[in-house]
Amino acid sequence: MPSQLSFTGFAWKNLWRRRLRTLLTLLGIGMAIGAFVALVGFSRSFEHEWQKLYSASGTDIAVVDKNFMNSSVNQSLQGKLRAVPVISQAEPMIFNIMDITPEVNALIFGWLDDSYEFNSLTFSSGGRFHNGKPEIILGELLSKNLNKKVGDTLDLQGSNYTVTGIFHGGTGLEAGAVIMPLDQLQVLSSLQGKVSGFHVRLKPAPIGESAAHYLKRAQAEIEAALPGLNAQPAADRASNNQFVALAHAVAWGTSCIALLMGILGIANTMAMSVFERTREIGILRAIGWKAWRVLLLIQVEATVLGFVGGFIGIAFGWGALHLLSTLPQTASIVSTSLSLGHFAEAMGISVLSGLLAGAYPAWRGAHLSPVEALRHD
C-alpha cells in the first residue's frame, strides 16, 4: 500500500517539521482557550447559582432601584408594595459581600426572621436568628472554613454575633454565606432604613392568563405603584445583578486579552513559517499549485493549530475548573461539567482565532511571485 498524501496530511507535516515551535504555539492558544473555558465557565456557574438562589426560594420578582446597579431602596415602601393586588408576599432584603476575616470573604444577606426565604434552607444544627438580636446563621461551607458551630460567636467589624444555626441551602452561594437579621445588617453597613430591594412572591395567576403575561402585568402594576423602582423577573435579576455582571465582564475581558495573545502567537508562527518556506511556496507554484491553494494550505495549517489548541485549551480549562471545585472558597459554586454549548463555543473561538491569525501570512504566501520565491535563500 503506497503512502497516500492528503491536503490536511501535508499541512500537518508542515506544522510537525518545527515540532517545538508548533508545540509552544499550541500551548499558547491552549492557555488562551483554557482561560476562556475556566473564566467564562466560572462566571456562568456563578450566574447559575444565582438563578438557583431565586428559584429555590420561590421568588418571582425582585424590586430594586431603577437607576443604580448597587440598589438602595427605602424599607418603608414595603407597605405600599404589599398593597399591590397581585403580590402575595414582599420581603425586604439586603445583600452584599463582606470580609469576614482577612482571608475569607462571603456573601452576606439581611432578612427578616419570618421571611419566606428561609423555606429554601435546611438547618443541620440550630435554627433561625431573631430580629433585633446580634445573631447570625452560617452556611455549612462557611462554618467549616471559619471553624464555627452553633453557640460560637463571630466578630464582624468589632461586634460579636452569636451563631444560632448552620444551614445547607439550595445553592452554593448560600452554602458560603452569612445571613443575619435585616436590622443588624442595616446597622453594620450604615444603611438604616434602607434595603437592597424586595423579593416578591406573586399570587397564583388567574385561570386563563398565561404565566408570562401575568408576570408582565405584575411588573407593570408594581412599577406603577412604586415609581422609580424596577420590578425585574427573578431570572433576569439573577443574570443581571452587579455581581454576575462583574463576573461576566472580568471573565470575558480577561479571556479576550488571553485570546488576543493566542492569536498573535499563531500569527507569529505562521508568518515565520511562510518566511522560512518561501522557496517551497515557489516550488508549489512552479509545479502547478494555484495561489488560492497555497492560501488554503497556510490557512489549514493555522486552523489546525486553532483546532488542536482548542482541545488542549478545553482540557486546561476543565482542569482549572476541577481545581477550583476542590478549593474551599469556590467549591460550592463551580461546576466541572462543560455544557456542549460551552465546548462548541470554545472550539469555535479557537478555530476562528486560527483562521484570523493565518489570514495575513496566507495572503502573503499566496501572492509571492513564483520566480522571486524560487530565488529566495
Binding site: F10, K13, R17, I283, R285, A286, I287, G288, K290, P370
Partner: protein, 221 residues
Amino acid sequence: MTSPQLEVRNLTKSYDEGRIEALRGVSLTINAGEYIAISGASGSGKSTLLQLLGGLDVPTSGEVLFENASLGTAVNLDEYRAHRIGFIFQAFYLLPTLRAIENVQVPMLGVSGNASNRADRAEVLLREMGLEHRLTQYPNELSAGERQRVAIARALANNPSILLADEPTGNLDSVNSARIMEMLTGIQQKRGMTLIIVTHENDIAHAAPRHIRIRDGRIEP
C-alpha cells in the same frame, strides 16, 4: 501546416527598473514533440527564457503563445503550469518533509482523483524511474541522482505536454548525468512530449536535435 505549440514573439524581460535586460527581443517557435537545448553563458538569459516559457514569470514586453493563445491573458498561468508544464530544476527542489512517493503526489493534490489514485500514479511513475525500492525514503536519504529522478517523476505527475528542465544535470556526476539525460530523452520519445533543456554543458546541448544559443539576451543566429 500545423501551428507551433509554443511561439515566442519579440520577448523582453528587464529587472531593476530596466537597468538589467535579461532578454532583448527574443522570438522563436517550438513545435509539439520537439527536443530543444538552450545554452549560453551564465547570465545570458537562458533560464529567464525558460521561466517565461513555463509561465513562472511575465515578460516586460512581447508575448508567449501556447497553441496560439497568449500566456497570462488568454491562458491562465496557474492552469498552464498545473496541466501543461512539468518543471525540473538543477537543485531538485523536493520537499524535505515528504517521502519520495509523497513528493510526486504534491502536484496532483486538488488536480486529479482521490488520494488512492494519486498514490498509485506516483508509484507507477517512480517505478518507471527505477525507484521502486526508494518509494518511502525522504529526500535526504536519497542520492543526488535518485532525487533528480524523483523530481522527474513529480514533473510528469499531471501528464504535461511540455517538460522544462533547467540545468537538470548541474548537480550530478557524469554517470548520473548520462543516466538522467537518457531518461529525459526516453520519456520525450515515448510520450511524444516537448522537451526544452537549459544547459551550459556543450555535449548535452549538441546532442539535442535543435540547439539554441543565447548571448546577452539574444538568440545567436
